[in-house]
């Protein structure tokens, strides 16, 4: 037997097509968990002589996503029960009361929660609504009742009303500092100065060893972190994925160059040949000598590249695309020129170029 329990409503760009992103399923599961915990609390409060809820109290309470209606996305959550049990008992009214209380809690002005809603259950909002993004909202109230609009900001306030930190999904990038192999954690150093201890699976140990202490390579941590009310990162709670980006500054630069279209220079300016640019990026990203400063890399109007270092002698490398030839130039201390040409179409030419750069740039007097 199927009995409607709550038709909720999600608003925001992701829901405009009247569909639910899969990740929202976690919010719905977290909502179900909150309903059950709140119903249990209400039962025990109303039955002070009981130490625990009766056996099978919530055995028949399983929310199903019955359908998603339009406007924006309105998932109908229903309870599916075995026929005889449903006929015998119907929905336990405490679950419906819990549903209504959750709506009242969300719609309540800051700090004025309904008396029946225990503060310690507010931590459920660390999970309920966690996938909501800025500009999105979730109405947790039955359609007949006043709206109870959960937003990322409201969710934060609900959790912080009972706790010093709240949790949200994160995507943090930075370099790997020291690692603690026993605890299986590493120190993440974010460019803004933030540092955090990140739990890592054993399968990541080899990469942590390889890239630890090498700030040109970046790790991106996706997961959940705890923040205080001032939005200061307190702790990485869980990690979903860890991805290494080698030479992330160079990689970002080549990504930007590959986005250029013809006419990028105020209507003129040829875009770099995409295949040749990809080949240059492939040979530089992850291979660029770590002892050399990273050059500026800019496009030229002819569709070529200029790599230029802010070093004495103004060393530079003009790379012609798609020919894959390069001209190195630097001023020597006696004001004469150092010129050197390279053909870069051969894979073996790149190590030779790096060796040349190592020898020349390291010897330039500072």
């Amino acid at each position: 037997m199927i009995q409607p329990f709550l038709q909720t409503k999600f608003d925001g760009a992701r829901f405009d097509q009247h569909t639910l992103p899969i990740e929202v399923a976690r919010d719905l599961a977290a909502y179900e968990s909150l309903v059950i915990d709140l119903a249990r609390y209400l039962y025990l409060r109303d039955n002070p002589g009981r130490q625990r809820v009766p056996r099978g109290f919530d055995a028949e309470f399983h929310l199903h996503l019955q359908r998603v209606d339009a406007g924006s996305a309105r998932p109908l959550l229903s309870i599916v029960t075995a026929g005889t049990l449903a006929l015998n008992t119907g929905i336990n009214p405490l679950f419906e009361k819990a549903r209504d209380l959750i709506g009242q809690c969300v719609s309540a002005p800051d700090g004025q929660f309904p008396e029946d809603f225990p503060r310690d259950l507010l931590s459920h909002f660390n999970q309920v609504g966690r996938s909501l993004r800025e500009g999105e909202s979730w109405n947790l109230s039955p359609e007949s009742a006043a709206p109870a609009i959960l937003t990322p900001e409201k969710r934060k306030h609900l959790v912080l009303a009972a706790d010093k930190v709240y949790e949200r999904e994160i995507e943090l990038s930075g370099s790997i500092g020291e690692a603690d192999w026993e605890k299986s954690t590493f120190r993440l150093r974010v460019a803004d100065g933030t540092q955090a201890t990140v739990p890592m699976p054993e399968s990541f140990h080899a990469k942590a060893r390889e890239f630890g202490g090498r700030p040109r390579h970046q790790v991106t941590v996706k997961g959940v972190a705890a923040y205080d009310s001032w939005e200061k990162l307190q702790k990485i709670v869980s990690v979903d994925s860890l991805d290494i980006q080698k030479d992330f500054q160079l990689a970002a630069r080549f990504d930007a160059l590959s986005d250029l279209q013809d006419g990028w220079l105020d209507g003129v300016g040829k875009a770099p040949d995409s295949a040749a640019l990809a080949l240059v990026a492939e040979n530089i990203v992850g291979h660029f000598p770590e002892n050399l400063p990273i050059p500026a890399i800019v496009p030229t109007p002819e569709g070529n590249l200029l790599m230029e270092w802010s070093l004495p002698g103004s060393p530079s490398l003009d790379v012609a695309l798609p020919a894959l030839t390069a001209v190195f130039h630097a001023f020597l201390p006696d004001e004469s020129d150092l010129d050197h040409e390279f053909a870069l179409s051969d894979d073996r030419a790149w190590p030779a170029l790096f060796q040349f750069l190592n020898s020349q740039l390291e010897n330039i007097p500072t």
Binding site: W264, V268, V298, P299, S314, F331
Partner: protein, 137 residues
């Protein structure tokens, strides 16, 4: 010319807030002549406004070299007033190249010299920034 010559830096020729020599390399369409503003006739800020609002081009910031400095690099500068753009001037790479039998490849070396001079002078104007030196008026 003896005035400060102002050059607009296209955003794609910047490395963060630093210029590259590409800023001082003539565009192919300019046939070896680099367009600049005569700092005696227009301020760095006004030149930026003219370049972006009137001409509709992109400029990250304004940088400058003096006419004397241009001479010292071996290049020359000349006023090139246009009917609707009287402050227009040129740094001429072409004449020097012709004289010294240089190729366009050698333009990079001159551009680097100009870039180094402009870099040491510092940014003359950048919208929304504290960079606002006296770029000549």
């Amino acid at each position: 010319m003896t005035s400060l010559l102002l050059r607009q830096a296209h955003p794609h020729f910047m490395d963060g807030d630093r210029i590259t020599s590409q800023v001082f390399l003539p565009f192919p369409k300019d046939e070896g002549r680099l367009s600049v503003y005569d700092g005696d006739q227009i301020s760095a800020e006004e030149s930026h406004r003219h370049y972006t609002h009137i001409l509709g081009h992109s400029s990250h910031s304004v940088w400058g070299v003096s006419g004397k400095e241009v001479d010292e690099t071996g290049l020359s500068s000349v006023a090139d007033p246009l009917p609707d753009f009287p402050a227009h001037a040129l740094i001429d790479f072409r004449a020097t190249a012709s004289l010294l039998r240089l190729t366009e490849k050698d333009f990079r070396k001159f551009a680097k010299r100009l870039k180094a001079l402009a870099d040491s002078r510092g940014c003359l104007y950048q919208p929304g920034s504290s960079h606002q030196k006296t770029g000549g008026m």
